[in-house]
């Protein structure tokens, strides 16, 4: 073909390709047969060409597959999907091919901290979601070459679209199935998570006909802050994107309402609500953002409901999935629906929406004004209606407005206004809810949401924490009577227990120990009541066990140990594991339970029981590391379990005194810490762990052991190096004083009094600097005294009494300061000081 011919082909192709197929032959007929044949053959290839090319290029770029490879404790069996975020495989646990999992790998995470962060967030989001219609998180970790993965419940099912087609579902059955999907999305929203990528392929229906929601890969925590914007992600599937995703506008729960609407449309109609012609951005933008979706040809209320959900303008959609689902239920029951055909509703909403801005900007909306709006809006309408609208406003304030306001710089004032206004609405609603359990729970959820916002506001003052506690109390005040009336109601109980636990945490953080303890006990009591009625429900038992573990870990130790809680935290979690023996997360939680229980026992000086628990913790942690040798978090957990077990045997006044067993534990701790450091050679925490393991191991070795000196010396060097970087770390310096004393004692035992004295001096010197820097630092003074006592004794042993005498004034000053700070802990030191003075007399 000559260049001239090619140019003519090009011109003709450009011209006819832009035309609908029907109009092409007329134009083609006007041209030379040769040119025409060429263009016709190009047109024939036109449709599939782009896909073909992309397939070839991605084929080569993707060529080395992961099939058959080991991923943590699993083996990848076959690829089941790919997305912008990574690859998904069906996998099985090594050695147990009956347990199928879906393995999601983020191959991008290795290259980009952003992707790693997003992946980590997905894992965190999934970990917080336990719902029968959401695919459950089982496990997570990294492959040997550092690619992070998540193991999820494997769902053997088909997409909701294929299912509806296969089962030839009637519109009513479609609606009923769809309501279950709404339930899952609502649950996510209550946990402040927007999915953002809802589409038929992400909703699988299993053999029991239940939906499972998948892929929270681009989901977002509603209050995750301004860091990750929706626009930077780019929608994965243009056809299922909401306009605000393409336009880069705020993503809210209404984005999910839109996508749910598209799904319902598709299963009812049997085809997509809209498809994007071509691949250009412009085409996507026009279809998604501008072209209204053609109404469903069903007629009646159902078409109106779907049309309301898929409005291009978020303000015109249902304000929440609940409202959407309510209308579907109304349709199924033959009741009138809320989304009216006339647009009065829309106009009213629009008016309210304008007022939200006022709220956010200047707190113009007060209770009085609310009265005014209500009058405008709901003249001559039933109270029920008004109530529904006010409820919508409160929700919108909490979820939509707060979301957009908090990303503004210096938005604390605006946030406070939003919170205050939302509280006023909720207080109003609370007086009107009557006996409607659903509404009561909704108001309670609103109060806890406010409590969360209040407690989390940037740099929360004590006041804000107090108001957070007050909001949580209101939520608890609504839920507690409901739970009392029906103690077997799982969801209410779990919500209530969560509220009590959060309150306990806030109280503990603000050192209100008695209150924290009482709240944590209430969380336990609530879960106990449910567990009694659902003894076979692993979710309930696990939540109970977690409440008990939380008490042992965060509350006990400040209070007298409650042995009952200790025993039950463990037996409950053991029962959960018996119900789901393969669940990695449960195994992990059980190990935590053992460790927390052991710590309570050890602090309560019951070292024999502590030993028993720590030994079990070690066993589970060893299993964990065997299953995932590359997982740094599990390795560190194992190291800490060895440390706890070693401490029970040796090193504390109430330790069991088994030096040999302690050495064995500390040796393993040391090995784990060494491995950890090899995995992360420059990590500060790994270096410190390593130094502390050397310190423990070295200190436990018998007197005269040469290796002890080397271990303690290296430990000291590491601590000094880290302290050099981390100048303000007082705790680290306290450890260094301790270490100087331990090492000095070793030298003294070997008769090396000169070196011993150098170490004691160094310890006293560090303490002196620390005490000078911080007049309120008690341990600087107590540890300074300990170092000084050792130094004085060493001087006296080498017949340098005068030097010992010279230490007295400084030591006396330390003692007086320590006594002023805390008389009780200074008392034993005062005795030692008196004895020293007597010796010198």
């Amino acid at each position: 073909m000559t260049p001239d011919q090619f140019r003519r082909v090009e011109e003709l192709f450009d011209e006819v390709a832009a035309l609908p197929a029907g109009q092409r032959p007329a134009i083609l007929a006007l041209h030379d047969p040769e040119i025409r044949a060429e263009v016709e053959s190009l047109l024939a290839a036109d449709d599939d060409a782009a896909g073909k090319l992309a397939g070839i290029i991605s084929g080569i770029a993707n060529e080395d597959g992961l099939e058959g490879r080991r991923i943590g404790p699993y083996r990848a069996i076959r690829e089941i999907g790919r997305g912008g975020m990574g690859v998904v495989f069906e996998g099985a646990r090594e050695g147990d091919f009956s347990q199928r999992v879906a393995l999601k790998l983020s191959t991008l995470a290795v290259y980009s901290p952003d992707f790693l962060e997003r992946f980590r967030q997905e894992r965190q989001i999934l970990a917080g979601l336990t719902h029968p219609f959401i695919a459950r998180l089982i496990d997570g970790g990294s492959t040997a070459d550092g690619v992070p993965f998540i193991a999820m419940e494997f769902v053997d099912g088909v997409s909701i679209r294929d299912y509806a087609k296969r089962e030839k579902l009637s519109p009513d059955s479609c609606c009923r199935l769809f309501l279950k999907v709404c339930e899952a999305v609502e649950y996510a929203h209550q946990n402040l998570i927007v999915h953002r990528d809802l589409k038929p392929a992400n909703v699988l229906i299993n053999e029991r006909g239940d939906p499972k929601l998948l892929d929270f890969g681009v989901a977002k925590l509603l209050d995750a802050g301004p860091g990750m914007t929706a626009t930077s992600l780019g929608p994965a599937t243009p056809e299922y994107s909401a306009p605000e995703q393409i336009l880069g506008h705020a993503i809210t729960t209404r984005t999910d309402v839109y996508q749910l609407g598209l799904i319902l449309y598709e299963i009812l109609a049997g085809h997509r609500a809209q498809s994007v012609p071509g691949t250009s951005l412009r085409a996507i933008q026009r279809t998604v953002c501008e072209l209204e979706i053609e109404p469903l040809r069903l007629g009646g209320d159902l078409a109106t409901i779907v049309a309301t959900a898929v409005q291009k303008d978020p303000a015109r959609r249902y304000p929440s999935v609940t409202a959407f689902a309510d209308d579907i239920r109304a349709f199924l029951a033959g009741r009138p629906i809320a989304a009216l055909r006339d647009s009065r509703w829309y106009r009213a909403r629009k008016f309210v929406r304008r007022n939200w801005l006022m709220v956010a900007a200047a707190a113009l909306l007060s209770v009085t004004l609310l009265g005014g709006i209500a009058a405008t809006l709901y003249q001559a309408r039933r109270a029920e209606r008004r109530f529904a609208q006010v409820r919508g406003i409160a929700r919108a304030l909490l979820y939509d407005v707060h979301e957009s306001v908090q990303t503004l710089p210096a938005s604390i004032n605006a946030q406070q206004v939003v919170v205050r206004t939302a509280l006023q609405y909720l207080d109003g609603l609370a007086t009107e809810v009557g006996n409607d359990a659903g509404l009561q729970r909704e108001v309670a959820a609103g109060y806890s949401r406010i409590g969360t916002i209040q407690a989390r506001m940037v740099g929360p003052s004590l006041d804000q924490r107090d108001s957070g506690l007050a909001s949580f109390s209101k939520a608890a005040g609504i839920l507690a009577p409901m739970q009392n009336a029906n103690p077997g109601q799982i969801d209410v109980a779990v919500e209530l227990a969560d509220i009590y636990s959060t309150m306990a945490e806030i109280a503990a953080r603000t050192t209100r120990t008695a209150e924290a303890s009482k709240l944590a006990e209430q969380a336990i009591a609530v879960m106990e009541a449910v567990a009694l009625r659902h003894p076979e429900n692993p979710f309930v038992r696990r939540r109970l066990a977690k409440a008990l573990v939380m008490y042992n870990r965060d509350i006990a130790g400040r209070e007298k140990p409650k042995l009952d809680f200790v025993v039950r935290s463990v037996t409950e979690m053991e029962a959960v594991l018996a119900l789901m023996p393969q669940d990695q997360t449960v195994r992990d939680e059980l190990a935590q339970a053992y460790l927390a229980a052991g710590t309570v026992c050890f602090n309560g000086k019951d070292s024999a029981s502590a030993r028993n628990y720590f030994e079990k913790a070690v066993l589970f942690r060893e299993d964990g590391v065997r299953a995932q040798p590359g997982n740094a978090v599990l390795l560190r957990a194992l190291m800490l379990a060895y440390a706890a077990l070693g401490d029970v045997h040796w090193g504390f006044p109430h330790s069991l005194g088994n030096r040999k067993e302690a050495i064995a534990s500390f040796q393993k701790m040391f090995a784990a810490a060494s491995k950890q450091q090899a995995m992360d050679p420059n990590g500060r925490s790994a270096r410190l762990d390593y130094a502390f393991s050397q310190m423990r191991y070295g200190s436990a070795l018998p007197p005269g052991d040469k290796q002890a000196l080397a271990l303690l010396g290296e430990s000291l060097t590491t601590l000094e190096a880290v302290a050099g970087i981390d100048a303000g770390n007082a705790g680290l310096r306290r450890q260094m004083i301790d270490l100087c004393i331990r090492k000095g004692q070793r030298h003294a035992e070997l008769g090396q009094s000169g070196v011993a004295i150098e170490h004691f001096k160094k310890g006293a010197h560090i303490a002196d600097a620390l005490a000078t820097a911080d007049s309120k630092n008690l341990s600087a003074r107590t540890w300074g005294l300990r170092a000084t006592f050792h130094l004085a004794q060493a001087y006296e042993k080498s017949s340098r009494r005068a030097l010992s005498v010279a230490l007295l004034p400084k030591a006396r000053q330390f003692l007086q300061e320590a006594q002023a700070l805390d008389a009780a802990s200074a008392a034993p030191l005062a005795n030692q000081f008196a004895e020293w003075e007597r010796r010198l007399r």
Binding site: M1, P3, F6, E10, F13, D14, A17, S41, L42, L43, A44, A45, D46, D48, A49, A50, G51, K52, L53, A54, G55, I56, I57, S58, G59, I60, A61, N62, E63, D64, G65, E67, G81, R82, G83, G84, G86, V87, T107, L108, V110, Y111, S112, D114, F115, S232, G234, A236, T237, P238, T279, S280, L281, R282, I284
Partner: protein
């Protein structure tokens, strides 16, 4: 993110970029060789699509690869245009190298033919197909250079229509038309 393994590689890349600016197009394979290990993984991630046929959007990842190279960009790249063109060309070259490696691994002959080799067979077919496509892009370029450039920038560089238009100094509509015919032409060559 580290583009190159070490300082030496970095210096070598800078030196090669300098030569590219000076008009020495022959340095491309050498540049591709040094960047190959990192870009291979990036390319894998980049070309992962939910389904073939979607518009190739520049992902954050390719952007990062780009930025990493941009760090080393000598002053000679006055405009982004020339640099964008280089990125598309490099990605293509890297995939060509990769396909050749896959093919020669298959032809190595010391691998016994068992069922376990099925994966390798598929890989080899894919490599072969890709090299045919690369060849076709070359032929298209001889006929109309800009069409080949559009394909390079869109498919290999991951640039948006607007960016490609900017790089080539033409309108978006032109890029769209060029791309459509280029796709049809290449698609026909590949039996679409």
């Amino acid at each position: 993110m580290n583009m190159a393994n070490g300082q030496e590689d970095k210096q070598e890349i800078t030196r090669l970029l300098d030569r590219w600016v000076a008009g020495e197009r022959a340095v491309l394979p050498e540049l591709a060789r040094i960047l190959y290990p990192q870009w291979k993984r990036m390319a894998q991630a980049y070309f992962r699509r939910e389904q073939a046929g979607h518009v190739l959007q520049a992902t954050g990842l390719v952007h990062e690869a780009y930025m990493a190279l941009a760090d080393l960009r000598p002053r000679g790249f006055e405009s982004r245009r020339e640099f964008n063109a280089l990125v598309g060309r490099l990605m293509r070259q890297i995939l060509v190298d990769h396909a050749r490696r896959v093919r020669s691994a298959k032809r190595g002959g010391d691998v016994p033919h068992t069922t376990a080799d099925a994966a390798l067979d598929v890989a080899s077919l894919r490599a072969e197909e890709f090299l045919v496509l690369d060849d076709a892009i070359g032929r298209l370029g001889e006929m109309n250079e800009r069409k080949a450039q559009v394909i390079e920038l869109r498919y290999f560089g991951g640039f948006s229509l607007e960016e490609v238009a900017d790089t080539l100094g033409v309108s978006v509509a032109t890029v769209y038309r060029e791309q459509r015919m280029a796709e049809a032409w290449l698609g026909r060559a590949m039996g679409a």
